[in-house]
Every structure is written in C-alpha cells, then in structure tokens.
C-alpha cells in the first residue's frame, strides 16, 4: 500500500470518527446541564472534541511523506 493510500485511509477513518463524535447518541451524552471549567458541558465537549480532531488531522497530514 502506498503512503498516499495509507494516508487516505487514515483520513477516511478520521472523518468517520468525527461523524460519530458530533452525532446522536454521543452528542446526547453531553447534552446535560452543568458546567466544565465554567462552560456548559455541551459547549465544552464540542469545542474540545473539535480541537482534538483537528490536532489528529494535523498529525496525520504532516507525518511521513
């Protein structure tokens, strides 16, 4: 498998992970009252998960060839 294909597969997996993270039912788990560091849980979850997804994307795209 070429490097190009390997990266492509990693990105497809990442996209699927993202769809899972920002969708019912995972999203519903965080759709509760309460706060995390003073920020409502749902907001905190979405932004943290989003930033993490971008970080992994950066890692995948910059790693290797």
């Amino acid at each position: 498998m070429s490097d190009f294909e390997k990266k492509g597969q990693r990105f497809i997996a990442l996209c699927m992970l993202g769809i899972l993270m920002f969708n019912y039912p995972i999203l519903a788990l965080f759709n509760v009252s309460g706060t995390l560091f003073g920020v409502p849980v749902l907001y905190a979850y979405i932004f943290i998960a989003w930033a993490a997804l971008i970080a992994v994307m950066a890692y995948v795209t910059e790693s290797g060839g």
């Binding site: 990266k7 492509g8 990105f11 497809i12 990442l14 996209c15 993202g18 769809i19 920002f22 969708n23 019912y24 999203l27 519903a28 759709n31 509760v32 009252s33 706060t35 560091f37 003073g38 920020v39 409502p40 749902l42 907001y43 979405i46 932004f47 989003w50 930033a51 997804l53 971008i54 970080a55 994307m57 950066a58 795209t61 910059e62």
Partner: protein, 928 residues
Amino acid sequence: MLHGTAIILVSFAYLGLLFAIAYYADGRADAGRPVIASPYIYSLSLAVYATAWTFYGSVGRAASDGVGFLPIYIGPTLMIALWWVVLRKMLRISKQNRITSLADFIASRYGKSALLGGLVTVIAVIGILPYISLQLKAVSNSFWILVQYPDIILPGEVDAAPIRQDTALWVALILAAFTIAFGTRHLDAAEHHQGMVAAIAFESLVKLLAFLAVGVFVTFGVYDGFGDVFARAAAEPKLRAMMTPLEGVAGGYANWVWLTILSMMAIMFLPRQFQVAVIENVDEKHLKKAIWLFPVYMLAINIFVLPIAFGGLLRFPDGSVDADTFVLTLPMAEKQELLALLVFIGGLSAATGMVIVETIALSTMVCNDLVMPVLLRLRRLRLNERPDLTVLLLGIRRGAIVLILLLGYLYFKLAGEAYALVSIGLISFAAVAQFAPAILGGIFWKGGNRAGALCGLVSGFIVWFYALFLPALARSGWVPIGLLEHGPFGIELLKPLQLFGLSGLDQITHAMIWSMIANIGAYVGVSLSVSPSADEHRQASLFVDVFRHAGEGGGARFWRGTASVPDLYNLLARFLGSAAADSAFAEYASARQLRWPDGQLTADAELVHYVEVQLAGAIGGASARIMVASVVKEERLSVDEVRDILDEASQVVVYSHRLEQKSRELEAATAELREANERLKELDRLKDDFVSTVTHELRTPLTSIRAFTEILLDEPDVDLGQRKKFLGIITKETERLTRLINQVLDLSKIESGKAEWVESAVDMREVIDDTLAAMEQLFKDKKITVEARLPENVSGVTADLDRMIQVMLNLLSNAVKFCDRANGWIGIALAEKDGWLRVDVRDNGQGINPADQSEIFSKFHQVGNTLTDKPRGSGLGLHISRHIVEHFGGRMWVESDVGHGACFSFTLPAAAVARAARTTAAPIGAPT
C-alpha cells in the same frame, strides 16, 4: 464622531488597501515571483467561507438556539478530513483538463456537454443570489446602525427601508466595480487571479482579528471571562434552556445532522469555494497544510460566538436589538467607537471577500458555460471569423458581474427582509448541495452519465426551488401566502413546507431530504438505464482514473481526424491573443525538441488536444470543444472504439507493471551471470595454464626417453655398461612420467571432489613411523641424519590413513631432495596443543626465497630456474598435500630463512574437535 462621511472614507481607504495588495501580488506574479505560492495564503484564502453571515449571523443563530450554528463549521471540518481523497482528485482532474469553474467541471465530466454546463450555471446563479443579497444586507445594515451612534437604533424600528435599500444598491455597484477591477483585468489561460487571492487572504486575517477583538472585549472586558458570562446567563431560566438545546427543539438531532451534511457539501461546491480551493490552487502540496490550518481558522472564529451571544442577550434583555447585530451593537453600547469601526471593517471584509470571489466564479461560469456556447452556435454572428475575441470575453464577464450583483440586490429588495441572515445563507447552501451527486458520483463512479446528471440536477433544483425559494418569495408577499398554508390549488399534500405531509423538521432539513431523494434517485436511476455516448465514456474514464492517465496527453488517444497547424494557431490566437498563443505553441514545441514557428509541428492528435486544453482554460471545456471541432475534420469514435482504447490502456498499465518486474528480475539474473562468467573465464585461464604446464612436464621425460631409445636403436654397438646406464635413465624417466600422470589424475579427482576419502581415526605417530620406515633405505643411500621427536601420548585425528602417508612421503621426499648434499639432516616433530596436532618437517638445505614461499603450494611450481636446473619434482606434490590437509580441516604452510633450511608444517584438529573445526577457524599456531 462616527460620522457617515468618516465611515465611508475609512471603508474606501480599506478597499484601496485591498486593491493595492492585489496590484502588488499581480505584479509579483507577472515578474515570476508569486506571493500566493504558499500554503498559508492558500489556507487563508479558503477562509472566504466565513462571510458576513459568519461574522454577524453566527451570533444571531447562537442567540436563538445555542450550538445550532456550529454544524456549519464542523461539517466542513469533517469534509476536509476527506479532502486528501476527494479534493486531491478534483485538483488533479482540474489541472489536467484546465477546468475553469464548477460548471465546467461537471460539463467536462459528462462528455463536455454544453447543456449541462448551462444548467449548472443557471442553478448556481439563482442559488447564490440569496447569499449575495445577504452580504449586501449585512453591509448596508451595519453601516446604517453605525451611523446612528451613539444611539442604538435598529433598521426595523423606523421606516428606513428606502434609505437602506439605496445603500445596498450603492454597495452592490461599488463592489461590482471593485470585482471587475480585480477579476477581469486580463484573460488568464489558467484562470488564476493571484492578486485577488492575496487580497482575499488579507481580508480573512482582518475579519478574524476584528471578530477576536470584539470577542475578547465582550468576554474579558465587559464580563469576567467565559465562566462569568455563562454563569450569569445560567441565572436566567430562558437562557439556561439554551445550554442543552438539542432535545428542546423538535427534530433537534435531525436538524443538526442535516445541517452538518449541508455544510459538508457547501465547503466543496459553493462556486467561490471551488474557485479558491481548486481553480486558484497553484500547488497540490498546499493541501497538506490547509487540511488543518483552515479548520483551525474556523475553530478560532467560533470560540467567542457563544459568549457574545449571551453577552448580547444579557445586555439587551428586552429583545429590542436584533441578535444578528450584537457583534456591532455591543461595542457601541459600551461606547467603544474604534472597536465598533473595526467590527464594521471586519464585516466589510467578510462581505467583500465573499462577493468578489463568488461573482468572479459565477461570471466565469456565465461567460464560458452559458453565453459563449450559445454565441458560438449562432452562425449569424460569425464569431468564428473574428480575429480577436479576448475583448468580447472580458466584456461578457464584466457584464455578468454587474448583472449578478444587481440580481442580488433585487433579491434583497424582494425577499431580504423576511429572514435572518443564517436562513438566507442556508437557502444557498441547499442549492449548491444539488451539485454533490453529479460531482462526487462523477469522480468515483464511471457509470454516471450525462442523462443521469441532467435529470438529477433538474429534479433536485425543482424541489429546492419549490420548497425553499418559493416560500422565501411568498413570505415577502410576492407570491400568494396561501400557497404555503394550503398548498397549490388547495392540495394539502403539496404544501411547499410540508411536502407529502412530512412535518416537524425545519424547512432546510425538509427541503434537503426531498431534494436529495429526487436528485440522487434520478441521477442513479437514469444513469443505470441510459447508455452513454463515446464522449461520455471517455471523459468518465479520464476523470475517475485520473491518477492512472499520466499527463495532459491522456485525452489525445481518443482523437482521430485531420487538422492544420495554422488553423489551430489562429483559433488559439483569437481567444487568447497572439502573444499567449505564440508562447503556448513555443512551449508545446520545445517540450518535443522542435522549433516554433518554423513549421516543424504536425497537426496530430496530441497538438489538437493541447490546443483544446489551452482553449478550455479560457472559455471552458464545452465551448473549447465546439471551437476546435469547427477548425478540424474530426472522425467520431464509436462507443466500442472508446471502450477498446480504454481496455487497451488498462492492459498497457498492467503489462508495463509486469514488464518492470521482469526487467528487474532480468537485471538481477544478468548480474549473476556476469559473475559466473568471470569465474568461468578465470577457470578457463587456469585450465589453459594447467594444460600447457602439464604438457611441458610430460615432454621433458618423453624427450629424454626418446633420445636414449634412438641412440640404442641407431647404434647397436654401444657397450653394455653404456647400454645399462641408458636403460636405467629410460626406466627412471618412465617412472617419473607415471608418477606425474598419477598425480595429475589424483589432483583432478581431488579438485573435482570425486576423490574417495576413507575416514578413520588415525594415529599420527604411526603415520610418521611408517613413512620413516618406508624411506629408511633412501636416507641411508643419501647419508641423511633423521631426527624424529614424537611424544608418548597424542590424540588421534580423523583422516584417511593412506592420504596422510602420502602427505608425509611428499614432505619427506622434498626434504631429502633439498637438504644439504654433504651433511643432510631432517628433523620431524609432532606436538599437540589446544586440540590441534602439529607436524613439522625441517631440513638444512638452502631455504626458500620469501617470494617463492607463497607460490610453492601452487600447481607445478618448482623452486629454481626450470630452464637451467634439472627439475626435481612434478610440482604437484605440495599442492596435493595441502588439498588433503585442508580437506580434513587443517592447514599447511612453510617457514624458511634463506641459507638456514626450510620448515614445512601442517596442523590437523584432534579427533574430538575435528568436526567443529573443519568448517570454521584456522588452527591455532598457524602463522597469520
């Protein structure tokens, strides 16, 4: 202080700055040192996605349903994860086919269909109008609000519509002029607008900084950080409900999901996104950084949306201020004039960036895919005969820009007041999502064809128009509102907002579901039931297998016909100007080591294809096809022929893979053969040497035997004593001959590995004793003293007894031959050390030259001058002895000082270690 005139001046100064940046970047590009050849500029230019809608509308939407605005940015992030697979492919396709726009892409994929290109253009223009009107609305609203400073008066509160609409018209006209200046200064065959891209990247920075500034001000200036804003909002029951908004709204998750999907499509298929991401891309490698930088940008511009929304709701609790304006009205309410002005400029950036890129993209489509194909078909206009069409092309584009902006203004006037910013934008998103099946299907599925794409697009567009566009007009009073409430002709089932009774969803989700069902259903269904033409077949293969068809020549294989070089050149010159045509032809010629314009070029399929691709860069694939067809005589290929060529091509790929493999194997085999050949040559040389030496050795005794027998034959009266002496010599020489032949046979057996070895435990003392006994008479004859030092107890060796005796005989007879004539002495020593037995045979002869010491064990080597001295051996004895010793895992060597005799030694492993040592190390005690 914030006087209208001042605001206008600042705005124009800002636009002037943009123009300066664009001018500078264009200048650098012309000088061959482009500023936009950077992944960072590319990523920033992609942020043209964030428009005035993001800038003002996100807060508006957040103020009504919390995180509901986020799918518009999370969706693109998910799509960008697929860019490595999808966008890379689209980039490659577009570069190879010189795609100029979204419409061109679709038209080219489905057999360069002008009809399809036109349809896509119409859908795109109508679909994007609401979006453009949104920008006009945002700019004129924000201007109007800012002018009221220090009062906060919203446009809705007073009857200000006519004034604002005038403002919007002015904004539209100014932007049109600006876009014309940016995008249609000259005609570029690659459709690159480097100056525009640089300006857009700059605008992306400005709007981000402006939004972050207001976010930091509200969050940390007005309030005490994120926790404070949310804690205060949570104290209000109404606002607290917004913090878990997803279950509160009917169809909450469904809306969320569909909004995500919609945004995934939008980031790819909005004409302006296609323009910056695909058309303006100068290097595929920029994608690598953009894949994470652009999502980071979207994340950054959204961080403060919720705090601003809650801040605004807390600051204006009575709902008197439209949430769409919080970004601007919050700084105004806090008396921050400069911040408010910065916000206005940020919003202006967001709006102008969108309008410029979008109208350039749309005007290219209108020109290349709508107007030109029609004009070129109208024979009355005789366009084919005009010498220079570049002016006409630029004129059409400029006209299209003005027209599109005026239409945007018209939509703003007709329907702009009835909706919030986000809803207007989403109508456009839903329109461009209709391109998704045709494009994504087109680059991954060869089965999709023209008829399928046409039907899919038409059905999807009709549903979109009916379920989204029409209701927008109806709400503004331009279409009877009864249509929404009771359906057409009172048919409840066909109510635009609850088609077939589907209710409980917001109207965007509702329209998306039905339009996608219609679109994908028609695309797939019709594609499967109608067979494609040859052109479609070819284009499908070129698009789907783009990574397999190398280079731009991919399409040339499909062309057959006749053409002439001057015709092709004139065609290109008419559309690009003669300078550009000249350089294009020169480039083509130099790539083939030919000269232009010396008439060396032939108008073959490759050149025709090249010209078509160049032309496509200026006027789009469909128009280029028509134009090229008008100057060449083309032979139409049948579907079967195209299929044959494609099959052939794929077979060629397979073959070439196999050939590569074969040639690699062959290379390896050749190297081995070469090595073997070297070895054989060396052996051959050795054999020749051997044969010549052996014959020489044989001739010497033969000559002497013959000489003496001739004497005896010719002279019968030789006396008895003489006769006896001669016969003695003959016998000796015969014996020597026999010995020599025996040794040669022996050697060849040993060397070829055919010798029979009888292995047994051998006691070396016994071997030495036996040999000495056999030679006792000889020693006596020669008066040689023999001294043997044999220890009482030594280990045996594993060897062949006869062979070991042969070795000892050879060493001792050599010692006898070479020891001192008068006072001969031979010493024999046997010793055991560290598992090795060592035998030394010493003589007191004249010794051996150091130069001869290494040679003495080779075949036929005899010490001394063979021409003058009588040879004293066959020259094979030592060679054979060494072979024997080495066969049993030992080693043989000689040590000698000239004048002090020589000592031949050999070692053999003691029986216990014999087997292990045979394959490995040299024996201890051997000289190294």
